[in-house]
Symmetry: C2
Amino acid sequence: MVAVGERIRLSDVALRAGVSVATASKALNGTGRMTPETRQRVQRVADELGFRPNAMARALISRRTFTVGLLTNDTYGRFTLPVMAGVSEALVDEGVSVFLCSIEDDPALGRVHLDAMLDKQVDGIISTGKRIDKRLPVDLSGLPVPVVYAFTQAPDDAVTLVSDDAQGAREACQWLVGLGRTNIVHITGPETFVSARDRAGAFREVLGERGRVLHGEWSETWGHQAIARLWDEKRARPDGIFCGNDQIARGVIDALRERGVQVPSDVSVVGFDNWEILAAATRPPLTSVDMNLKALGREAGRLILALSEGKQLEPGIRKLPCSLVVRQSCGGLTAD
Amino acid sequence: MVAVGERIRLSDVALRAGVSVATASKALNGTGRMTPETRQRVQRVADELGFRPNAMARALISRRTFTVGLLTNDTYGRFTLPVMAGVSEALVDEGVSVFLCSIEDDPALGRVHLDAMLDKQVDGIISTGKRIDKRLPVDLSGLPVPVVYAFTQAPDDAVTLVSDDAQGAREACQWLVGLGRTNIVHITGPETFVSARDRAGAFREVLGERGRVLHGEWSETWGHQAIARLWDEKRARPDGIFCGNDQIARGVIDALRERGVQVPSDVSVVGFDNWEILAAATRPPLTSVDMNLKALGREAGRLILALSEGKQLEPGIRKLPCSLVVRQSCGGLTAD
DNA sequence: TTGAAAGCGCTAACAC
DNA sequence: GTGTTAGCGCTTTCAA
C-alpha cells in the first residue's frame, strides 16, 4: 500500500547540521569553500537522513532534466525492444531516465506524447521504429531539443542510426561461399522494403550472375512456397540459401526436411535477425545475421546525450555493423 | 540537428497580453476572476506564441510530476511489452508519462533506476516482470510513492495484477470438451512455474480422472517429445491437446503432421499466450488463450493513477480474465 | 477585476 | 569559511 515516507529536503539537512541551506548545498555538491569538518558533517547528516535532492528543483535551475523521450511505433516488436534496452542501458549511468512513448501509427497520439515530453522538458528525443524506410507519424523538426533517429526513416539533416544491412548480408553470403556452396539462392521479403533491397543488392554483389533472388513475404509460409517452387523446377537445386529473415528461414528449413533434404549436409541455410527464440527452435538451430540492435540503442543513447550537452554532431546516416551468429544450419566449422 | 527554438515562458505571454504573470496564470488555468475579454486575450496570445507551461515548475509547486516509473526485467520479452503499451495507453490521456526502466536481473541496476525515479519525483511505480512467481530484484517497500505490481510476484500487502491462468485454462478445456473431444491431454511447462501448476490444476478440475498432464519445458522440442511419447505408447491416443504455451503447441502440431495425424480433424490443439506471430504461423493457425496483457497494463495504469491521487485501494491479487482466440487448430465452429 | 508578493527546493553570486 | 540574497517558471493567497 501507500507508504508515506516524508521526503527530506535540503533545509532539513541544513537545520540538523547547523548550517545554512546554501552551505549544505555546497557541501554536498563539492563546491564552494568550507572546512572539511563542516563538509563532512553535512554529508554525514544527509546520509543519515537519507537525503536525495529533488531533481525537479535542480532541473528548474540547470535547464537540464536528465530525461530523454523515446518514441516508438513498434509496440509488440522484437526490433524496438532491444533498441530501448540499449538506450536505457547507455543512459542510466549518466543519471538519465527514459520516457517510453508508444504511439502506434497514430499521428494524434504522437502529438500528445510529443507535447507531454516537451512540457516535461526532456533533454532530447530518440525516435525509433520497426522499419528503416518508414517515418513515424510525428514531425520532429524545429524542436527546442535535439533528436536522434534509430532504426527508422529520418529527414536528411538528422542524426540517424541504422544497421548495415548490406554488410550483414555480405557476411552471410561470404560465409556460404566460404563453405564451398556454389549454387546460392536468396529468399527474402517484399522488394518494397529497403532492407530487402539492400540485402538483395549485397547478395548480388557477392554472388554476381550466379545469385538468384526470390522476393515474397516475410513469413514462414513464403519460405515453404519458395522451396516448393525451387524444388519443382527442372533446374539445378541450390546448395545454399540465404534468407531475408528468420521466419522465412524457418519455413525453408521445415520445407526442406519435408522433402528429405538434409540441412546442413545437402543445403546450408542462413537467416537474418537472429531472433533468438526462433533461431534456436529451428532444427537444426539457425545460423543468422544479428543486427546488434541493443548496441544500436546504446549508440543512440550516447549520441542524444552528446547533443543534449551541446556538442555538435555531423548529420547523416550512421550504419552500425551486423554480425553473423553461427549455429548449425550451415555445417562447416560447427558441423553437427 | 539541434534546433534551438527559444521556449516561451508565462512571463512572455503576460508581457505581450499586457497583464501580470499572476493574471496570465489564472487566465490560462480557468481560475480566478477577470473579464472574459482579458481571459480570451491572454489565451489568444498564449496560442499565438505557442506557450506551453513548464511542467517542472508546476511539479515543484503541486508535488505531482505526472510521471510514473515502470520497472521491468523482461528486456526482450513478449510479456512485458504489451503490459508497457497498456500502461502507456492508460496514462497518456491523463498527461502522465512513463519512465521505462529495464533492470535485467541486476539488483544494483534496479537500485540505480529506482533512485533515479525517486529523485525525479515519480508519482508512482509499476513493477512488472515475465513470471508471476518471481520477484524483481528490488525492494519497493516503504517508498514515498505508491506501487502497483503487474505480472510479477509481490508482497502480500501490495496491489497486484495477474492474468487468471486457471480461468484461461478452463476456457480452453471446456472448448475442447464442447467440441466433443474425450481423450484430452495437457502438455505444459515445468511444474516449478506457478502458471504451469495453475493451468494444470484447472485442466484437472475440468477433465477430472480423464485428464493427463505432461510437464516438460516451454519449448517446441518438448512438444515434439511429448507427442513421440504419447504416440509410442500402447494406450488410446488423445483427440484433444491443451498446450501450456504456443511454442509447445507449435511443436505438437508439427510432430502430429510428421506422423500423418490431421489437425484438427483427428486431434484438436489449443495453445496458450496467443503469441500472434507464432500462432498465426502454425499450420493450421493456432487457437490459443490470450492473457490480455495490454488490458492488464491499462488496469495497472489506472490503479497507479488512482493511488497517486491519494485514493485507497484494497491490497491483494487481482486476477484479470484471459480469453480464447479461436483459429483453426480445433475444428468445430471454424473448421476448415 | 487585477497585481504584488511569497514560495515550491535548490543553486550561485556576492557579501560578510 | 559561511550566510544572505536572488532567481529558475509557475501558482496562489491576499491586498488594492
